[in-house]
Symmetry: C2
DNA sequence: ATTATCTATAGATCTATAGATAATGC
DNA sequence: ATTATCTATAGATCTATAGATAATGC
């Protein structure tokens, strides 16, 4: 993950420690260590001892900042989502002036997926291990990301740069774009042998825009 | 899973027990129990004791038929794949005579995904827990399934029912079809609130065929 | 005699906490 | 005095196996 100095998000995870600034720094240490371990060995095979050691703190102290191992996973998933969403939101802004907005947006998003491949894959694989309430939040984050694409597509439809489809079709296409980005993360072991990320982006953009499959004269 | 009486596939998992028929029956018991538990609680939170108990055998006996808990997971993943692939292969045959072959094939495949939702999701979530060699096999199974779609698309391209695209684009579209089926399984919690499976199939078919996104007059 | 099965547990963890110690700020 | 930190471990598992028993087939 980028070492962004994002202001602390609200996480609802209580800490025994009072100093909010310290909480922020320690939790970042913990997340940085944990994300590495989780990617390498998976959540269940990573021990709390390892997380503490890799964070440079004692096991005891770890439990002053979180109340369970699942807390750590939630912190990690939430931070990953925040970074993806922030990057995409920024890219949507930046790109919304040019021509071919949709293609540009797809490109930016897919590049984020490429850069954060391991992290996105981690969320896919370990969300199930979260306690109910947090799993639901992580899943809702996926919807939030998708909704960014929904808005963009609707904007384009209004300005005539995208077909005026029923709301439900637009929504589904937004989901498709999201998931085709994720596909690069969970089929990467295969796809990257045959496609560069730029090649992937190009072909998928054609697919999404219907350029490849629609018969020439209907 | 369907209680198919498929002949025993070769699995390379050794057993202390000699009678091949008995191995087949016991392993089916084990897989049926394990798949339920894994879906409910996940692989890591399921204990070998529980698998044995649910299978109606003792913990000791379990280890006469597999040599580790991971073996059970592999058996399960392999059986799930076999069933999906068999169903799809059968459907491709059955459907290849009619008109609109591609749409029919997508429909059949998506219906399998709907029916085996939990199982397919399980494979997604737990593949990482497998020992290297077996994980690779499970991943290659995903490619095998995709290749069924590649063949179909190439057949259609030859007969003029599908655009003659470069091999690489065809391959990628096959991956897309596979993954958009899987998307129904891992976003089901959201999608099924808004789309029936038939509605999903219809809209996704239009999307894949480029009917929704391609501008009317290019 | 051989094969299949069960019972009981060794051995190896791992999470989370209690209680002791060090650092900080009034 | 209060807050942050560490050390050491209680308590609770869980996997895999050793050794005893039951069933089977010559």
């Amino acid at each position: 993950m980028k070492n962004t100095d994002t202001p602390e998000r609200i996480t609802d995870i209580p800490s025994q420690v009072k100093d909010p600034d310290l909480i922020g720094r320690r939790r970042r240490q913990i997340m940085d260590a944990a994300v590495r371990l989780f990617i390498e060995k998976g959540f269940h095979k990573t021990t709390t001892r390892e997380i503490a050691r890799e964070s440079g703190i004692s096991t005891g102290l770890l439990y002053e900042y979180v109340s369970s191992k699942e807390d750590v996973l939630y912190l990690v998933c939430d931070a990953i989502h925040a970074e993806v969403e922030a990057t995409v939101a920024e890219a949507v802004q930046r790109v919304s002036e040019g021509s071919n907005v949709l293609a540009a947006m797809i490109r930016e998003y897919f590049l984020v997926c490429d850069r954060m491949s391991d992290h996105i894959l981690l969320v896919y694989q370990e969300t199930k291990a979260l306690p109910d309430q947090w799993r639901r939040r992580v899943l809702e984050n996926e919807v939030k990301l998708t909704n960014i694409f929904v808005s963009t597509l609707e904007g384009l439809a209004r300005s005539g740069d995208f077909p005026r489809l029923p709301r439900k079709s637009i929504e589904l296409i937004a989901h498709n774009i999201t998931v085709l980005g994720h596909m690069w993360t969970f089929r990467r072991w295969f796809l990257s042998r045959h496609y560069s990320i730029e090649d992937y982006i190009k072909r998928q953009t054609d697919f999404i825009l219907g350029k490849s499959t629609k018969k020439e004269t209907q």
